[in-house]
Amino acid sequence: MARSARSSGEPEDPRLAQIRALVRATPPEVLDRISGRAPWRRAVSAAWSPPVLLVAALIFTPLYLAYASSAGWPDGTMWSLLLMAMAAGAALTFAGYLRVVDGRPRLGLGGSPCAAVSGFFPVVAALALATTTAPNAAGMPATAAGGWMALGLVLLGLSNRVTGAIMCPPRS
């Protein structure tokens, strides 16, 4: 529903542009305050919408299973629970990068096309890292598996901002 038949580049119907401007004139923060809605609820639903969470779960569940099995998951150690928490954190962080505002991914930066493009590099790099460091047949020690997961999460967040800062300098 609510699909627009307008193709990109085609000028928008001025009546629709007026409606869009009318609806967007009130900032969401003001709407929250008028409605008595806690601001974090809008932030959470915007950052982690169900489709985005589904994508993140599809990506991170196999990673979790791979790491957890190498960390003693079949034996029921506590590491599997810790890894589950780490994987959930990684999935939520990744889902936050996929947040879409006005049809463009924000990727935790500023929502500009430049920021969106630059944000993909660390995501791809992190996925490549996760793939190449998958546990081998002999199994990875639990501490190493957990460490890689945590380190990957931190690097993902940092590199996202670093590439954004390098590629998308603040406008003067």
Partner: protein, 128 residues
């Protein structure tokens, strides 16, 4: 006053020409919309001084898209041409009355000032 159907052609004018306008975005196939429809209709009879508009999102897809509708039913309330309430989900009668009372009781001078301040802050944040 009963509800009136709104389309892209008269949406903006209706909102701007009336003090308080409530708009129900709905679709025929949507169960909660059918559940909310009589509640909305009854409220329109009870508050003839307000405008109760209905947008069929199937017939007015571009309008629904422009209004940023992502789920239905969604109830919007405008006062003095300003969007002051927007929430998806079917409201029970008591909750709708609460929304109407809330909209009537708004200090619009303060709302206008707050919107101006928040818009300025958002613009500055986007540029920084």
């Amino acid at each position: 006053m009963a509800t009136r159907a709104l389309a892209a052609a008269d949406f903006t004018q209706t909102v701007l020409d009336n003090d308080i306008v409530l708009v129900d975005f709905w679709a025929a196939w949507c169960g909660p919309c059918r559940q909310f429809a009589p509640v909305f209709e009854a409220a329109s009879e009870k508050h003839p001084e307000l405008v109760f508009g209905k947008v069929d999102t199937e017939a007015e897809r571009d309008l629904a898209g422009a209004a940023g509708i992502t789920s239905i039913p969604t109830l919007m309330a405008f006062r003095e041409g300003v969007l002051v309430f927007s929430q998806p989900g079917a409201l029970p009668a008591a909750a709708l009355e609460q929304v109407i009372d809330g909209v009537k009781g708004l200090d619009m001078a303060a709302i206008h000032a707050e919107i101006a301040a928040q818009s300025g802050a958002n613009t500055a944040a986007a540029e920084g």
